[in-house]
């Protein structure tokens, strides 16, 4: 299987040895390259996701979807991006100006920092802390601060209600998400994402013998909690169009609205990617023990294809849920988390601990 470390090492030797640059400049150029790669991957993936969502949503509703800009409308999201840049940025009279400008920074930062820690393929991995899972949970909650700031600083009743709902919802579902991820940490015995992926080389976590039962329950809990954390699907109360016009980002216009739009789609990708990494084996190919030939064939498919393929399946599931179920009410939402999901995740954690002790 192709290791992306070859590419990064090649760039390093190219800069250091063949161009003979001093250490400082080599590092500087490498960091700029990594930053540009983050930015490009982030923007391109968001554009693709927006197109895919609109197209799939259209098919669910028996429509054609975007089909005018480019063939099958594939340039639609680029046209939208240009359009959103050309819109006027309106500032509200009675808003808190500083917080109003600051809020998109938190939202974007929360999603880029999480995005940067994902293992996309073999050796294609920027941030790899030994507390990886903990880092993901910690950093992804930066977005909540951004949303609360946005709602509060706008000085508008709709945004305030949207932000409060969002705060309560995100904070509640974060617990279940953390406990679901912890279930796998108990099994893997490490929090480092690369190690967790490495340990799933033989079997993915959700197929792994008796441990598959708690792992699968945790996978389902994580998907539900992840949907709620991205404010999507049946959990889109913070921006319930029919009640709150647009929720916490009602007062944002032009590109400042675009930041929230971008972050929402990327958070969907990130949730799917974390689910893939932790439960579905990350970039590891599908292996069935005993089927030597089959395993060899699977190894020929590049790791990046595996990663994005599994993520795409999770994203499709998210879209399917979103366009199928009606929106919940805030009391139903919180009741569901605290009375059903939370006890199940606690019991599931103990079940996994029991399985690990008995094995």
């Amino acid at each position: 299987m192709f290791d992306f470390k070859v590419v990064t090492d090649w760039i390093d030797t190219l800069l250091r040895v063949q161009l003979g640059l001093p250490n400082f400049w080599t590092l500087a150029i490498e960091f700029i390259l990594v930053g540009v790669a983050f930015l490009a991957a982030y923007a391109v993936l968001a554009l693709i996701l927006i197109y895919v969502e609109r197209k799939i949503c259209a098919f669910f509703q028996c429509r054609i979807g975007p089909n005018r800009v480019g063939k099958w409308g594939i340039l639609q999201s680029i046209a939208d991006m240009i359009k959103i840049l050309l819109k006027e940025i309106i500032s509200i009279d009675r808003s808190d100006k500083v917080l109003f400008v600051l809020a998109p920074f938190f939202v974007i930062m929360g999603s880029i920092l999480t995005f940067a820690a994902l293992p996309f393929g073999k050796g294609l991995h920027a941030i790899d802390f030994n507390i990886g899972v903990f880092y993901l949970i910690a950093v992804s909650s930066l977005g909540i601060i951004g949303i609360l700031l946005a709602g509060w600083s706008s000085n508008n009743k709709y945004t305030l209600i949207g932000a409060m709902r969002s705060g309560a919802q995100l904070v509640s579902y974060e617990l279940s998400a953390a406990l679901a991820l912890m279930t796998v940490v108990v099994f893997a015995g490490t929090m480092q994402l690369s190690q967790i992926v490495e340990k799933q080389a033989e079997v993915w976590n959700i197929f792994n013998g008796i441990a598959a039962i708690p792992a699968f329950i945790a996978f389902v809990i994580y998907l539900i909690a992840g949907h709620a954390e991205t404010n999507r699907g049946p959990f889109d109360l913070p921006e319930a169009e029919s009640e709150l016009t647009a929720g916490y980002h009602t007062e944002y216009s032009g590109i400042t609205f675009g930041f929230y739009y971008l972050a929402e789609y990327m958070n969907m990708f990130i949730v799917a990617a974390i689910a893939t990494t932790v439960f579905l084996g990350g970039w590891q190919p599908l292996h069935i023990s005993g089927w030597e030939g089959f395993n060899q064939v699977m190894d020929y498919i590049p790791s990046v294809v595996w990663f994005f393929g599994k993520t795409a399946v999770c994203i499709f599931f998210a879209l399917w849920v979103r366009w199928t179920f009606p929106r919940l009410r805030i009391d139903q939402l919180l009741k569901f988390e605290w009375k059903i999901l939370m006890p199940i995740s606690l019991i599931n954690l103990l079940l996994m601990a029991l399985v690990v002790t008995l094995l």
């Binding site: 509200i92 945004t159 940490v185 590109i255 605290w338 103990l350 690990v356």
Partner: protein, 116 residues
């Protein structure tokens, strides 16, 4: 190296927002209208301020969240070394979780999870 990449990611996020904002400032039109600055509340004139004391129900959940979030922080170190601790670790943590579950049950019984 990880910390350096973390810094790179933070700078990337700031650059993305600032650059997009500056580009939009340059290319987007500007016009003044006194109506534009008003809060968007579906055409009805806004009454009063929005910075008010808010429904207490949300804060109850926030307090409950604090309790369980600290619990999660305590559980993570245990989760990593679970395999080495063996049966004793399982029993100890079961007590820990049961006490927390009692806390949840108490909040449930007191009606903190109801939406009134």
């Amino acid at each position: 190296m990880n910390e350096a990449f973390l810094l790179v990611a933070i700078v990337t996020a700031i650059v993305l927002v600032v650059a997009a904002y500056l580009i939009a400032k340059l290319v987007a039109p500007h016009s003044f209208n006194s109506q534009k600055g008003e809060p968007y509340e579906c055409g009805i004139p806004t009454r009063g301020n929005s910075w008010l004391p808010f429904k207490v129900g949300y804060y109850l959940f926030a307090i409950l969240f604090l309790m369980f979030d600290v619990e999660t922080v305590f559980l993570f170190p245990w989760a990593v070394v679970m395999r080495d601790l063996g049966t004793m670790g399982l029993i100890t943590v079961t007590f820990f979780i049961v006490i927390l579950a009692l806390g949840l049950a108490y909040a449930w019984k007191k009606g903190a999870l109801e939406w009134k």
